[in-house]
């Protein structure tokens, strides 16, 4: 019944540009980490949902943001739950070695936004939030860990700034 406790959930998109194709031997240590890290996410406190390609174990073969860009789209009950998984689980080891496998992004590569509990964000919605963050900087509708907003702030923002306006 934890899902009913929070009226809003936190959606997260991150994009990573591969240095080599996933079947390249130099990517093997990363590919080997995928299953255990995804299993850790599924079992993490506060985990709600992650994007998975139909018939696959994850979303790494979906390339909606470019042929060599993998996307990770997830939903969490709270920012703390997402932070603890991202930086305080086996996922941190993958983050530590990111420079071996991914290009360094000049633009933002992670975006957070609030969704109503029960809403599963689409890839288009997620990419639009990332574009918003990149174009306008952090706001209650597209932010980062370092520039976080509460669900209440996001709701207030939506009331004062009608949808569709920048």
């Amino acid at each position: 019944m934890t899902a009913s406790v929070h009226a809003a959930h936190l959606a997260q998109l991150n994009v990573a540009t591969l240095l080599y194709p996933l079947d390249d031997p130099r990517m093997a240590p990363f590919v080997e980490m995928l299953d255990p890290v995804h299993a850790a996410a599924d079992g993490a406190p506060g985990f709600v949902w992650r994007l998975v390609e139909e018939g696959a174990a994850d979303a790494t073969a979906l390339r909606p943001a470019g042929e060599d860009v993998i996307v990770n789209l997830t939903v969490w009950e709270t920012p703390e739950a997402l932070w603890d998984f991202t930086y305080r689980s086996g996922h941190l080891e993958a983050m530590r070695r990111r420079r071996e496998w991914f290009e360094r992004h000049v633009e933002a590569h992670l975006v957070l936004w609030w969704v109503p509990a029960g809403h599963l964000p689409t890839v288009d919605e997620a990419l639009e939030r990332l574009a918003d963050l990149r174009a306008n900087g952090p706001s209650p509708r597209a932010f980062t860990f370092a520039s976080s907003y509460t669900a209440a702030e996001a709701a207030q923002h939506l009331r004062t700034v009608p949808q569709g306006q920048p």
Partner: protein
């Protein structure tokens, strides 16, 4: 309260023993337990524990230590844990934290992870000096304690009762975990960069080809690194 006043509250030897005991447990500690550990009467311990709370060094709460609840469970007992806030005094005033945050921010933006880790590994090796790689978990505990990591032994299965585990499971199943991250403030802001630096520093300090090894195994509220016996050392 100013940092210097909070730190001055530790000048009393009994108070300092109580503070160090509570901090070392990594959990809530009751008045009776703390009094016994410090070798003082319960009322004196209670007085000093409350002074430490007033100074902002400890936080207090109340718990029913019996595990029972409802009528007949007894009055909740006062328990103490270390306060999360950092206290520091530098005379004359220095601000290495701002410098560290700015350098970390620049290193993150420039993607300097590899260079930072190489420097950290060299520093760890320099700290070790001419000594051989760390010879065992006890030696590792001493080295880590000296650097402020607050190490403690834990069963590799993740059971908190390390002493019991050591007797039953043997040395190979015990690992060193650390309660304190000496780089906490910057590690929270740039986790992959700073935690990677920390791992490289410990690899240099302990050695990578000796009887023990450092490995990243992050979990909430502790240092991201675990130190364990090397696999090739278990016989």
């Amino acid at each position: 309260m100013e940092d210097i006043d909070a730190i001055a509250a530790l000048q009393d030897p009994v108070r300092r023993r109580l503070y160090e005991y509570v901090v070392a447990q990594g959990r809530e500690v009751g008045r009776n337990e703390a009094a016994e550990a410090a070798g003082v009467a319960r009322t004196l311990a209670a007085h000093h524990l409350d002074r430490l709370t007033e100074a902002g060094l400890l936080e207090s709460g109340s718990r029913r230590l019996t595990g029972r609840s409802g009528p007949g469970a007894g009055r909740p007992a006062k328990v103490y844990t270390r306060a999360r806030a950092e206290r520091a005094v530098s005379l004359p005033a220095r601000d290495y934290r701002t410098a560290a945050e700015l350098l970390a921010e620049a290193a993150e933006q420039a993607g300097l992870d590899a260079g930072l880790c190489a420097a950290a590994r060299r520093r760890g090796e320099a700290l070790r000096g001419a000594a051989a790689p760390c010879g065992g978990l006890e030696e590792a505990m001493a080295m880590l304690a000296a650097r402020g990591y607050e190490p403690h032994l834990e069963s590799a299965a993740g059971i908190q009762d390390a002493e019991g585990a050591k007797e039953t499971a043997g040395e190979a199943a015990v690992v060193v975990r650390m309660r304190n991250c000496p780089f906490h403030a910057v590690a929270e802001r740039f986790p992959p960069l700073v935690c990677g630096m920390n791992l490289a520093l410990l690899e240099g300090l302990l050695g990578t080809d000796g009887p023990v090894r450092a490995r990243m195994d992050a979990r909430p509220g502790e240092c991201c690194v675990v130190v364990e016996n090397s696999k090739n050392n278990i016989d």
